[in-house]
């Protein structure tokens, strides 16, 4: 038995209310989907059209689906956290300390790794190739593999519901020695490690892939300084991905060696050193927050330029900002532990470096406002998100600058003030950016616009909910309340503010409902909101020059770029008709595209098994998983028929037919 199941026993199966509930709801949802697909006979369609697709546009949409599901999961966690803290005055509350700690660990991990990261990689997949005038990413197989690793990681983090019943209770960065075997003997931390290990590998591969795509696959004529701002900020973000995700991988590997084989990298005794982990994890962790933030900056740049109908003011500055932010963010990690006893010189150095990041960040905001000032702004719902961002982000940035001063950080570190800071940044910065992007690019993806009225309502609800839930946290921070408290003395008088924060959470839930309703309404009214031009906002960049949704190959004729804001330039100089319809240019060429492949799915599945084997110490399963993954790679490398050709006649046909047929024609 031990050989076959390792540490896994009957006792590991769900037996507490939350694991039973979680497992049951997931099984039911899975069953529902299964029945639906079988009943409608859609399995084949799903497999061929979506799951095995190498089309970055479809992969992008799949990222969005997974990230949205994970947002619900992380949101439920958030609700449970707030409920506990609102009730837990005295010895109250409905959760045990241990359970509460597992929830906030899962919440943080999921929101960063699976929600924000998922949305942004999805967006990059969809938009980047279109904006640089490419037909695909550089390595299509790697792209499906990255997505599936991400999806496998997302599944993995939910696996503890079924087996083991506990997640890490260590906080989202699992600092040792708390996360070492001595203090966390259960499987929770192992689940944490391996879900990040699997999805982190996906992020790294995506990073390499998209970076090469940007550097190598731009349309002829698009020099670096003619790239759209979104491409630039993604470039900055991807540089950070490839330079810092290896740190994460190795750090997690060392931690797992400690846990699985009794090594002593980060233990307190026998020569290990937890401070090493703290340094390593933050030298990935700080860049990570900018990995999430930089693409959002790019989104705002695109939106501001488009909706003020003006080329971006200070493009050169904005490019410099993106690169400076990317570079500086690798030099500030120590600000997360000024309180670990480094000397004044070291602390001051990192404090000052931290402050420096505020310079390019501030310059960006000034330049966006200047663009709006010079232009003719339209306050669409996408612009609402932008303005919401300007206000929340400036507030959060001020809090950040304060935290970056060691003398202040000593008092604010690990308090709810810090929690409020980073939620301001991640919600008001990255998440609002994602919402703006959804509003802005939705018509490109679907061919019809999102309902503006509901978009604006959702925005106002979001910002109200956000302020109501996080202002109390700033105040609580000033009252000296530490983060992650599962209960507190009634005499302290904190409960009221926690309850206000809980109210904010409810408002945010309403806001999310408004967003869901927005999508439903828009689908219902898709006839009225249809956009046949492919360019509903009077856009400036290349993605607006194709049909909506774009054909598999993105561009029937690869455009020649003469200027920045390439599409605007074409519109102004009257070339655009040629390009959009392809009518003027009947001479299409054959287009070579990558075939679908399931190899990514197989490799991810095998690596999933490896992770599972490590969690439960099942040696044979680990071997199977590892050998399986390697075998897949080897087999694939002998497959030379990985591409297919779309004949020029077919291209012509597709170009002249309606959108629906284009979708169906795709392989």
């Amino acid at each position: 038995m031990k050989f076959w199941f390792g540490k896994l026993t009957w006792a590991s199966l769900p037996h507490e209310w939350f694991t039973i509930g979680g497992a049951l709801s997931m099984v039911l949802a899975g069953l529902g989907i299964f029945v639906y697909l079988t009943y409608t006979k859609k399995w084949k369609w799903l497999w061929q059209e979506w799951l095995t697709s190498t089309d970055p546009k479809k992969i992008g949409i799949m990222y969005f689906v997974v990230a949205a599901l994970m947002l619900v999961r992380g949101g439920l966690d958030a609700g449970m956290i707030w409920l506990q803290q609102s009730l837990a005055s005295g010895s109250g509350g409905y959760l045990t300390a241990d359970h509460f700690q597992q929830i906030f660990t899962a919440h943080g991990t999921i929101m960063i790794f699976f929600v924000t990261t998922g949305f942004l990689f999805g967006l990059m997949n969809y938009i980047l190739p279109l904006q640089i005038g490419a037909r695909d990413v550089a390595f299509p197989l790697l792209n499906t593999l990255s997505f599936w690793l991400y999806a496998a990681g997302a599944l993995f983090i939910n696996l503890f519901f079924f087996f083991g019943g506990e997640f890490a209770a260590t906080g989202w960065l699992a600092m040792p020695p708390l996360s070492e075997l001595e203090f966390s003997p259960g499987v929770g931390v192992d689940y944490w490690i391996w879900s990040l290990q699997i999805s982190g590998l996906g992020s790294l591969l995506s990073g390499v892939n998209l970076l090469v795509t940007i550097l190598k696959m731009r349309a002829p004529g698009m020099t670096l300084m003619k790239m759209p701002m979104f491409v630039w900020t993604c470039l900055g973000s991807l540089l950070l991905v490839v330079s810092t995700f290896p740190i994460l991988t190795m750090t997690l590997l060392m931690l797992s060696l400690d846990r699985a084989f009794g090594m002593h990298f980060f233990t307190s005794n026998l020569g290990g050193n937890p401070m090493l982990y703290v340094n390593l994890i933050w030298s990935w962790g700080h860049p990570e927050v900018y990995i999430l933030m930089l693409p959002a900056f790019g989104i705002y740049s695109e939106i501001v330029a488009t909706f003020s109908r003006r080329r971006l003011f200070g493009y050169g500055s904005l490019v410099a900002d993106a690169l400076l932010i990317s570079g500086l963010s690798m030099l500030v990690w120590l600000h997360h532990f000024f309180t670990m006893g480094a000397g004044a010189n070291v602390n001051a150095f990192f404090g000052i470096m931290t402050g420096l990041i505020a310079i390019p960040t501030g310059v960006q905001i000034f330049n966006w406002l200047a663009t709006l000032y010079k232009g003719d702004p339209r306050f669409t719902s996408a612009m609402h998100w932008f303005f919401g961002f300007v206000f929340t982000f400036t507030l959060g940035g001020m809090a950040g600058v304060m935290l970056g001063i060691p003398g202040l950080d000593f008092q604010l570190h690990n308090s709810l003030f810090l929690v409020a800071h980073f939620h301001t940044m991640v919600i008001g910065g990255a998440l609002f950016g994602i919402f703006a992007a959804i509003t802005y690019w939705f018509p490109k993806v679907t061919g019809f616009l999102l309902n503006e009225k509901w978009g604006k309502r959702a925005f106002w609800l979001w910002i109200a909910g956000f302020l109501v839930s996080f202002t109390p946290l700033y105040i609580l921070g000033l009252m000296g309340v530490t983060r992650r408290l599962d209960h507190y003395d009634a005499s302290r008088g904190w409960q009221g503010l926690f309850m206000v924060a809980g109210l904010g959470f409810i408002i945010i839930c309403v806001a999310v409902c408004a967003q869901i309703w927005q999508i439903i309404v828009s689908i219902k009214e898709r006839k009225q909101n249809q956009d046949q031009s492919g360019d509903p906002w009077d856009g400036r960049t290349l993605e607006w020059s194709t049909s909506s949704p774009p054909p598999v190959y993105n561009f029937a004729v690869i455009p020649e770029i003469k200027n920045r804001d390439a599409f605007w330039d074409m519109k102004v100089s009257g070339q655009v008709d040629k390009l959009v319809s392809g009518q003027a240019n009947k001479q299409y060429e054959d287009i070579v595209m990558p075939k679908n492949t399931a190899v990514g799915i197989y490799i991810s599945a095998f690596l999933f098994l490896v992770g599972f084997a490590f969690v439960w110490h099942i040696v044979w399963l680990g071997a199977v998983g590892f050998v399986g993954a390697v075998t897949c790679v080897i087999f694939r490398s002998f497959d030379h028929h990985t591409e297919f050709t779309i004949k020029s006649e077919d291209v012509a046909k597709m170009e002249s037919r309606g959108l629906k047929e284009i979708w169906q024609l795709k392989q």
Binding site: A97, S317, G341, V346, F366, D376, F379, F387, L395, Q411
Partner: protein, 315 residues
């Protein structure tokens, strides 16, 4: 102006007023004392300096942020009359504007950097507070889930509470015999980590009499939320009496008793010990050190260097 724009403007005005109010509030604050605002009611030299730093930095940033917000409001409010030409010939002033947009944050951040450098050295937790008065030394051991405080010179120990004379510098030496922790008494000053096998230092002082709460600020397991303590700051004479009182009891903290204590994992009521095992603190640290305690390249692991005035842990 449409209704929606009006709402937006109203909204922004509210935020601005809010911010201005906040700024004012901080400057007239000392007169308004409410209960509970630990960081805004500093009761010790260090906390007071940190609070002043807080106000100063907040003020500097508002100087830039408020005009920025006003500019944003102006853009929202403004009605454009002339139609923008598609061809954007007009690129004037871009260079000037670029100088301006870089200069403003550079000046702001430069001044904050100067403050940063100075304050970091001034508020270095390793720096003794004053030379006039001999500090009391307190050795802090973070356990699961309670704080053990050893007064090595007085040879007594307490759990989950501290008694100190007012207006006397305190030198905390911190270590842990449990997961990494962070020691925090908000009204006296900022945090410092406590880590197994290492010593970190923190200098604080209570300027007035009173009870000041202390917390464990770094997540460290199940009992995290209960790991609180109170620091009683009393007059010099009361402190002397207290010491005498403690000494007259007969609760001893031997190594064996310590082992028992460190293994019991539950919420602990405050307790005193009238006698402490010789160099208990050093023995606790030694538990984590191979080969008699010296680890190359890490002075913090060297027990010999633990003499009090010499910061034994630095990068």
């Amino acid at each position: 102006m449409s209704k929606k724009q009006k709402i937006i403007i109203l909204y922004l005005v509210v935020i601005d007023v809010f911010l201005l109010g906040l700024a004012l509030w901080f400057f007239v604050w000392p007169k308004i004392r409410l209960v509970n605002f630990a960081l805004l009611q500093p009761a010790g030299e260090v906390a007071i300096k940190e609070y002043m730093l807080f106000k100063l930095v907040l003020f500097l940033m508002l100087v830039v942020a408020i005009p920025l917000f006003c500019f944003a409001v102006f853009i929202l409010k403004r009605r454009k009359h002339e139609k923008i030409s598609l061809f954007e010939k007009n690129k004037s002033h871009e260079g000037l504007w670029q100088i301006f947009v870089w200069l403003v944050p550079v000046i702001l951040i430069f001044s904050i950097s100067v403050i940063n450098w100075k304050s970091t050295h001034d508020l270095d937790p390793y720096k003794p507070l004053s030379l006039k008065k001999e500090p009391i030394v307190i050795q802090v051991v973070a356990l699961n889930w309670k704080w053990l405080f050893i007064y090595p010179n007085e040879r007594i120990a307490t759990i989950n509470f501290l008694q100190v004379p007012e207006q006397t510098p305190i030198e905390f030496n911190l270590t842990a015999d449990a997961p990494m922790n962070s020691f925090w008494i908000p009204r006296l000053g900022g945090q410092m980590y406590s880590m197994a096998g290492m010593t970190t230092k923190l200098h604080l002082q209570a300027d007035q009499k009173g009870d000041f709460e202390g917390f464990a600020a770094e997540i460290n397991g199940r009992g995290f939320a209960d790991m609180n303590f109170v620091l009683h700051s009393v007059s010099e004479t009361d402190y002397g009496n207290w010491l005498k009182n403690v000494k007259s009891k007969s609760l001893k903290l031997t190594l064996k008793e310590y082992e028992r204590l460190s293994e019991e994992e539950k919420k602990h009521e405050p307790e005193v010990f009238s006698f402490v095992e010789d160099s208990l603190y050093e023995k606790i640290m030694e538990k984590f050190m191979p080969d008699g305690g010296y680890m190359p390249g890490m002075p913090s692991h060297n027990v010999d260097s633990l003499d009090n005035n010499n910061p034994s842990f630095s990068y």
